[in-house]
Amino acid sequence: MDILQAIGRGFFFLDGGMGTLLQERGLCAGELPERWNLAHADEIVRIHSEYLAAGADAITTNTFGANALKYSDEELKAVIDGALSCARKATDQAGRGYILFDIGPSGKLLRPYGDLDFEDAVELFAKTVRLIGDRADAILIETMNDSYETKAAVLAAKENSSLPVFVTNVYGADGKLMTGADIPAMVALLEGLGVDALGMNCSLGSAQMARLLPQMYEESSVPVIVQPNAGLPREENDKTVYDEDEAFFAENLLSCAKDGARMLGGCCGTTPAYIRRAADTIKGTEPLPVVERATSVASSYTHAVGLGNVPVLIGERINPTGKKLLKQALRDNDVGYILNEALAQEKAGAHILDVNVGLPELDEAETLVRVMCALQEVTALPLQLDSSSPEALARAMRRYNGKPMVNSVNGKKSSMQEIFPLVKKYGGLVVALTLDETGIPATAEGRLKIARKILRAAERYGIKRKDIVFDPLAMAVSADPSAPRATLGALSLLREKLGANTVLGVSNVSFGLPNRELITSAFFALALGRGLSAAIMNPFSAEMIRTYRSFLALTGADENCSEYISFAAGLAPAASVTAAPAKAESVPSEGLRGAIVRGLKDQAAACAKELLRSAGALEIIDREIVPALDEVGKGFEEKRVFLPQLLMSAEAAKAAFAEIRGALSGAGEEQPRKCAVVLATVEGDIHDIGKNIVKALLENYSFRVIDLGRDVPPEKIVQAAEESGAPVVGLSALMTTTVPAMERTIALLRERLPACKVIVGGAVLTEDYAKKIGADAYGKDAMASVRYCEEIDRLSKRG
């Protein structure tokens, strides 16, 4: 019988902690356990046999750390061959037992928090997977405490083997992985990738795992695995003992079994005696069925957002269509602007963020991946990857940390052929537009018909109904007065006839009309009334948020109207419906200069706005902002002002500049800029606070800053300096170990751009050291770097 059939039949028992038994049998600290597959094969076979005799239905190969980081290619093959033959020997001797090929974590952390690239991680696991062949019954990816690494391992398994894939993650007592994902997020990610069973192992004892189990069962549509530790280890008379005994462990496993776990075993400290006791205790109990869960979800690396209950808001602001500043930011590679848009939408109440970066002159796939990765560094909201390019979607879906929303597929054969295989492979909640080769049907029934066709096609690709959310297409009422009726009718039909979730880009409805917010929000209310599951909308629109909050209160989704009450209480009087949500700020008596010196952001903006009525932009910069910055900068140099205050002033100045830029661009002018400066933290170094501080100050002093981020290779720095024509490059390094990378970067700059000046800074550097590695200047602090760049700017203008 094949292993999945066996699991389908009833409880399936796994083995326990291999590492514990190896230590008991003499594995030394620091010794690689997989070498025992060759050196002590008999011991390994014996351990497998003991678990089989104790009642385990499957044994796990001794390959937890068998990867190319720990072994040469040759030895890797040898330990894997050894492991598989030990396992086969044990099952042959016992006459029963399935073999799970074990894959543990790499021991490295993936970018952005660590230094292992996602694709390198996939390749690392793939090297191991390719050596398994058909010698196991399934692959068990276990003890994974990072969702991103889990995804890399599952992709490697799926791409290089046809064996079933099981996955267990390490949860803390708070029900989250070390890198943040909760149970619904992991279930969404793993089921999206098509794993055959999922669950938890290691770290927690059986009592703690039993508490998390019910939620895992409630979320999962595949069999649930539970493999706890025998509690926490402690030392007793020079021996390691665990604080859960066999009986206690077995009782808790029984409770897991009753709550829905189907595959049960142990991890650290669970000897065959634990497995025997658990199997004996659970025998006779009826397992809960594996149930297909109907909820449509998208997830990030921390949490999942479900459709179908409370309507979901998808922020539409990261889309260059009609947005001049965003277009400019994309062209300038100014990710900071996009990130701030994302954070502002999150603050305004968006649950998911749409990401569209399509501009004809950009490589969309490359840009989408880059922006998506940057967004996942700052926001935990799930993303909706929005592109008409299948290649861009494919690359972004592959690297996305979680289960994304995907925008979009439609009823055209070509679209379904391109998009559905991606959804099947990478997982995703896909938006399906109800249009096809014949266009957009004018009637609700016509759109329903296309929806049915899309569902049938999806099924052929093995995509579940719940992973399709239909967009019946909102169109401009100014062009066709009957358009909204068809769209709203389709919403009702899709919900009633198909039980499907729906999404609409609601803003389209008001295209071509004045005061668009009014029409859009009224249409939004109508759509919500028809059961709209999610809206792609502008979360900065006060009208839209008012409509949303009111709808929740009116439909009982806001208990005791409490959210509405606190929202409404914070609103300005009804007269100013179109005014920005910013509160009127009191203007400090010492004016803009004082507000900046004291680091009062809101006041600085208010003062600047006030001043703009009577003074020119340049005058304000010269008379107020620059003197304020100089005052604070001087205080910092004289050690009267400390770093936080310096940065608060920088923030205040930035707020004032935002007002001034707005006024200038309204008048068709631009703020005069100083020269360009390229900033980077050198290759190998992931600390960028110093560089970020310098950047904030340089921007205040009107430099055009090109920030390349951290861990930047020399070639990239030279290239950026070349393209921008920056007369000065600032490099930062925090570790003694990365100073050589700084030296290499300087050497390459000297060779290729001899006129370009280099200033260096960072905790480990000194004036002498900076000279030694060939820098032109040493920035002992942020202000020193500003002063140096000002000097270069003056020289470059003169010369």
């Binding site: 230590q23 600290a29 620091g30 974590p105 021991g107 490295k108 952390l109 952005p112 928090y113 660590g114 230094d115 292992l116 003890t143 405490n145 390490v170 803390g172 708070d174 070390m178 890198t179 943040g180 290691c202 926490l232 280890p233 402690r234 030392e235 990710v335 900071g336 990130l339 701030n340 954070l343 940057a374 560094e377 700052v378 926001t379 935990a380 004291r598 680091g599 009062l600 400390f642 770093l643 936080p644 205050q645 940065l647 608060m648 920088a650 923030e651 190998g684 170094d685 992931i686 600390h687 960028d688 606070i689 970020n692 501080i693 950047k695 904030a696 570790m735 003694t736 170990t737 990365t738």
Partner: protein
């Protein structure tokens, strides 16, 4: 085999955090303190402090000091451990959640990034101190020596690899080591704590250090 301890409720040492931000005796502005408290609360919500450790005999082979898998010729560590028959090696972290807070700010907000860094570092120090206080109780009648980390004095950072081989902090509490020998989560510490029969004076950790101009140097009354 290493052991684990968790510290869900860690005290916050404000003086330490302010020192990391450059304040020594000066009193920070009211706005700075208010913002610092907001960021502190955020870091606290996100962090999951944990320690894993092993107790090993202290031995010498020729010029090498041998602490199980950790072998070094460091004179500084030898001085620190002189007279100790045993030592505890530990790895401590305030967890990945704090790095997520940091990463969020690193791209867009250097003020709060600097604050979160200082706060995270202060919490990490406090975690180590708290662990060593527990160790003092656990190891009585022996006394813990001031902790000594790879990278202190002549104890090379490369000893990190041996620490990791011995403690498996990747698996135990989720600390990983990158190619530059830096740890993730960034607010993590590895260290040796000698167990001695005689008590040692407080703040010896900084008092023994040769770099007297260090801004982070603890004063005698800290």
């Amino acid at each position: 085999m290493s052991y684990r301890s968790y510290y869900p409720r860690l005290r916050f040492p404000p003086k330490q955090a302010l020192r990391y931000l450059g304040y020594r005796s000066a009193e920070p502005e009211r706005e700075v303190l208010a913002e610092l408290e907001r960021v502190r609360a955020e870091v606290e919500r996100a962090m999951t402090p944990a320690v894993c450790y092993v107790r090993v005999p202290v031995a010498e082979e020729g010029e090498e000091l041998v602490l199980s898998l950790v072998r070094t010729k460091s004179e500084g560590l030898k001085r620190n451990l002189s007279g100790c028959g045993e030592a505890v090696l530990f790895a401590a972290t305030i967890g990945m959640g704090a790095d997520r807070v940091l990463s969020r700010y690193a791209r867009v907000d250097p003020l709060r990034e600097a604050m979160a860094l200082a706060i995270g570092a202060a919490y990490a120090e406090e975690l180590c101190d708290e662990f060593c206080r527990d160790l003092a109780k656990e190891c009585a009648p022996l006394y813990p020596r001031p902790r000594f980390s790879p990278g202190y004095g002549d104890f090379p950072l490369s000893a990190q690899r041996q620490f990791f081989a011995l403690l498996s902090p990747e698996r135990e509490i989720g600390i990983t080591l990158n190619d530059s020998l830096l740890m993730s989560p960034t607010k993590s510490v590895t260290a040796v704590v000698g167990l001695s029969k005689t008590p040692c004076r407080p703040n010896a950790r900084c008092a023994d250090c040769e770099r007297t101009d260090c801004v982070y140097r603890a004063s005698e009354e800290d």
